[in-house]
Amino acid sequence: MTDLASLPRRIAARAVGHALAFVARFITAVRADWRGIEPVARQRVYFANHVSNADMPMIWTVLPSHMRRQTRPVAAADYWLKTRLRAFVGPEVFNCVLIDRRPDARTSDPMEAILAALDEGSSLIIFPEGNRNMTDDPLLPFRAGLYNMGRARPHVDLVPTWVANLNEIMPKGEVIPLPLICTVTFGAPIHVKEGESKDDFLKRAAGALLELAPKPRPDEARPAPAEQPQ
């Protein structure tokens, strides 16, 4: 009976999902570059750079539907439960695993929810920097979560995932997204090695992610346009 009652909601969630993916494609022509993995439904943790709230929908959009169905983004409960609309989009459209970011206020261990999602066979999307990166550095230092997941479930592939260009498409504080081309690059999976320390692993993971970032173009490396006279 509950299933029957929730059917319209689930249909609405699917429709909203397709609409969001359509908008993402229309604005950014977002495209996946499967550099290190094949687009098959293996169990993976996609760990990505985080500069904008649109990062997660971009990754979600480029996943083919058979992968999208078994992939759950890990997201902050305080953000996604703030309004009724977000509470519909986050948990129902994206099927997020919601975790509480505030250590003092939370009642359950976030890692438990993450491991439970892995144990039910889901793939995850996580942002190991924890917060949106507002600095000029390409990445913030990673939190320990990625390491803990890799230790607890060593069979799961940890896939570095670079979302390019979003800081220009939608910088913080801007309302209108710019139509620029966005690319999501999936690198080769990594695993926590036997006896590898947390810091070593997190450094290696950040390195694997940074390697996927597009190299700065020559005209951007120049601080100011300084054309040489002929």
């Binding site: 710019l178 173009r217 346009p225």
Partner: protein, 314 residues
């Protein structure tokens, strides 16, 4: 559309289908002549090109059947995709966000609206005068002087190329044919066909007996290839002169002009791509790069073709 124009559209569509079938057969038989398990990059590139043409021809036919609105929407979306590709590689800073958003979501639709409403006096100056000044002001108001001229120059250039120039293809609809018919829609087909066929002749003639490069550092284009391309375009133009008000000689001259401007335009684009260090503008068309890679000749040819049509034959 009047029945006469519809008949002509149908004849042209049949002719294009015939040419494409011939190209497809040639491409596939070249493929079959190769031994099992081998591929030839030139043959594959040709087949890929023919595939894209099928797509373009089908899109253009559907748009023509939908009439004026169909054509305008088709080119408005082409402009949007082209601008998206250009701006991705353009120099820009946070301070340009609003002016770039205005360019994409306000100026572009307005330009096509003016073309659709046939406001010639406005759509020919809207971007070069009003958008030109307005966007500079919007960028300056955000107060970031770093590389200002370079930034606004690239944005303005993108807007001129991707919106102003491309909108001159549907602008041909606003041209009043001397005989008062609604056949100006066929000029779009004329322009597209002479440019595409001229380009293909240039490419293969250049490969076959091209010697003198026109711009060694930029592109493999040769004088011989370009001459062949322009001559082919002129010939096709003369054959198609019945859809134009130009007469046989005039149509050949207009076709040659369009083809030549187009080839030189794609040379300009080669310089830009080399400067930006990119091979293709995007991956929009599988195996063929982005929309700008396809449209570079049309972009340069369209405004010139439009103006000569209006001033000489108007």
């Amino acid at each position: 559309m009047t029945p006469d124009t519809t008949t002509d559209v149908a004849i042209l569509a049949l002719a294009v289908t015939g040419i494409l079938i011939a190209f497809t057969v040639i491409g596939e038989s070249l493929r079959m002549r190769l031994p099992q398990g081998q591929t030839n990059p030139v043959v594959e590139a040709f087949n890929m090109r023919v595939h894209t043409w099928w797509g373009l021809a089908i899109l253009l036919t559907l748009a023509i059947l939908a009439g004026r609105i169909g054509i305008i929407l088709l080119f408005a979306f082409a402009s949007f995709a082209a601008l998206r590709e250009f701006l991705t590689f353009a120099r820009k800073r946070r301070a340009d966000h609003l002016s770039l958003a205005l360019a994409c979501f306000v100026i572009l639709p307005l330009q096509y609206l003016f073309v659709g409403l046939d406001w010639t006096a406005l759509f020919t100056v809207f971007i070069p005068v009003y958008a030109f000044l307005l966007l500079l002001i919007v960028s300056a108001l955000r107060g970031d002087p770093t590389g200002f001229v370079g930034r606004v120059a690239e944005t303005q250039w993108g807007l001129m190329i991707c919106v102003f120039c491309i909108s001159h293809v549907p602008a041909l609809l606003t041209y009043d044919m001397p005989d008062g018919s609604d056949r100006s829609i066929l000029l779009i087909v004329f322009l597209a066909m002479v440019i595409q066929l001229g380009d293909v002749a240039e490419y293969y003639a250049g490969r076959k007996f091209g010697k003198r490069r026109v711009a060694k550092e930029l592109s493999p284009k040769t004088l011989e290839g370009m001459a062949c391309g322009v001559l082919t375009a002129a010939l096709i133009g003369a054959v198609l002169s019945w859809v134009t008000p130009f007469g046989a000689l005039g149509a050949a001259a207009m076709a040659a002009l369009a083809s030549l401007t187009g080839m030189l335009g794609s040379l300009v684009f080669a310089a830009i791509k080399r400067d930006k260090g990119v091979k293709d503008w995007s991956h929009l068309i599988p195996g063929q790069g982005g929309l700008l890679d396809q449209l570079d000749s049309v972009i340069f040819a369209a405004p010139v073709f439009y103006h000569v049509t209006v001033w000489v034959f108007g």
